[in-house]
Symmetry: C2
Subunit: 105 residues, 2 copies
Amino acid sequence: MAYAEVFTALADPTRLHIFEALREQPKTVGELAAGQPVSRPAVSQHLKVLQSASLVSVEPQGNRRLYSIKRDGLEELRLYLESFWSDALTAYGAEIARRVKNKNV
Amino acid sequence: MAYAEVFTALADPTRLHIFEALREQPKTVGELAAGQPVSRPAVSQHLKVLQSASLVSVEPQGNRRLYSIKRDGLEELRLYLESFWSDALTAYGAEIARRVKNKNV
DNA sequence: CAGGTTGGTAAGCCATGACTTACAGTAAGT
DNA sequence: ACTTACTGTAAGTCATGGCTTACCAACCTG
């Protein structure tokens, strides 16, 4: 159930912004903080959450730390979504009509 | 940016459980509440959030209200995920190597 | 029509978590 | 080595939101 962690990670607006800021290219913490209305430590904390959700990865580069998007978390989410397009769900639309008719159970 | 609302909607564990409980079949509020460790009003409030995120739909049925999964919210999410598998992202892995070498901007 | 279901809403409480400032550590430059 | 840049961590504050109880409305049944 790793997808649950992905949901909570991307639920916060600031964190989602940070995540999407990494789409164009990998960035350092300072660069990310400059693009956000919050302090640098806040960004650091957000990155920690994103990292534990397998959404970003770090590449220590001398003094700095280069953050970039990691596919694992997204893949986790994609698999979860795919399961919703299964036969079980497609065949399940009839259930509504059935229960509307019989109005029981 | 409707996908943001989907993230926040599915971020809460209880709400995610309720949502997944609807996967097998449409259910009433009472049925959903019976399967959760929270009160019925709490479930009602969660359903309200899920509904505004286009994740569930309601079918008033006499006294009861039959909730079922709605695809719109999931589709929103799927489109968002798809955009991450674009060329922009695939071509972007090189950026890491580039910056590791040159260690600047 | 009276009583019993079913479910949405209001008000209020309380915990989670997002943010800030302050501090510590590590690497680079002079 | 000393100073400067960059980042992570700690501690504490405060708002958001999830939960409960109480209440109210709609519908169905006898």
